[in-house]
Symmetry: C2
Subunit: 146 residues, 2 copies
């Protein structure tokens, strides 16, 4: 069992955030001894899941719903699974979009590299979009793909 300060330390979060999560209902079964929160393995695992679901773009109120399902027992396995499946799909599409944005960034890095060498964008603008060198063509096309 850990105090709020220890958990804050472990996860690199301010204690105020943990209190806030608790208030939002993210630790349904959290115990206390004389008013003081006691974080156990359940809560540490919950926190790992919270970090994951937040990175997956989920809102606090939906994470709370998941935590409530966990507290309800086996009857909610299907809902829990469906939530993870939905998040997985969402996240895969987010990662795909980010990779496209990343290709745009790569292209811009190459572009400014050239522009610095040339001293202007003139030569470069003549290359876009059909006369790009092989080395960068694919990145450019991926970045601009619909």
């Amino acid at each position: 069992m850990y105090t709020i300060g220890q958990v804050a330390e472990m996860f690199g979060l301010p204690a105020s955030t943990l209190r806030y999560y608790d208030k939002q209902g993210l630790f349904p079964g959290l115990e206390r001894t004389s008013g003081i929160r006691r974080f156990g393995d359940t809560e540490l695992e919950a926190l790992r899941v919270i970090e994951c679901l937040k990175k997956a773009g989920m809102e606090i109120k939906d994470i709370r719903l998941f935590m409530e399902w966990c507290a309800e027992g086996p009857s909610t396995y299907p809902q829990r699974k469906a939530m993870f499946e939905e998040r997985k799909a969402h996240m895969e599409s987010e990662i795909a979009k980010m990779n496209r944005a990343l290709d745009m960034l790569k292209f811009k890095c190459w572009y400014y590299e050239q522009a610095i060498q040339d001293g202007s964008e003139d030569r470069l603008e003549a290359l876009i979009p059909d006369n790009l060198p092989e080395e960068i063509k694919e990145v450019y096309e991926n970045a601009h793909a619909r």
Copy 2:
């Protein structure tokens, strides 16, 4: 040249957002005819870059800085390149983190699949962390890697 409504349509954004971006200085050279905004190729390209940089986790005020550099001419190529390089690195690390979170989601999907079949988490809990089947072991380890 396009009106705000046409651009909104093209990018699937509300016109209010485009006005907001303009107010935040994201279209430094935007022209107007009798008060009405006229979006040209420069602004469309700016908007593509804005969407990219937003996806890369950049704040509006930093995007404005970039747009101002663009308006200043070739002397700012190095700053612009540095900004993109920094964003590229940031984004690569974000994508890596998201892939770890995704592996957590994949693991949870598998976990609940099993739990539903078993009717409880008991057998499952005995498998974690050292007796997981090959099919899911790597995903689990990646998800929990420091």
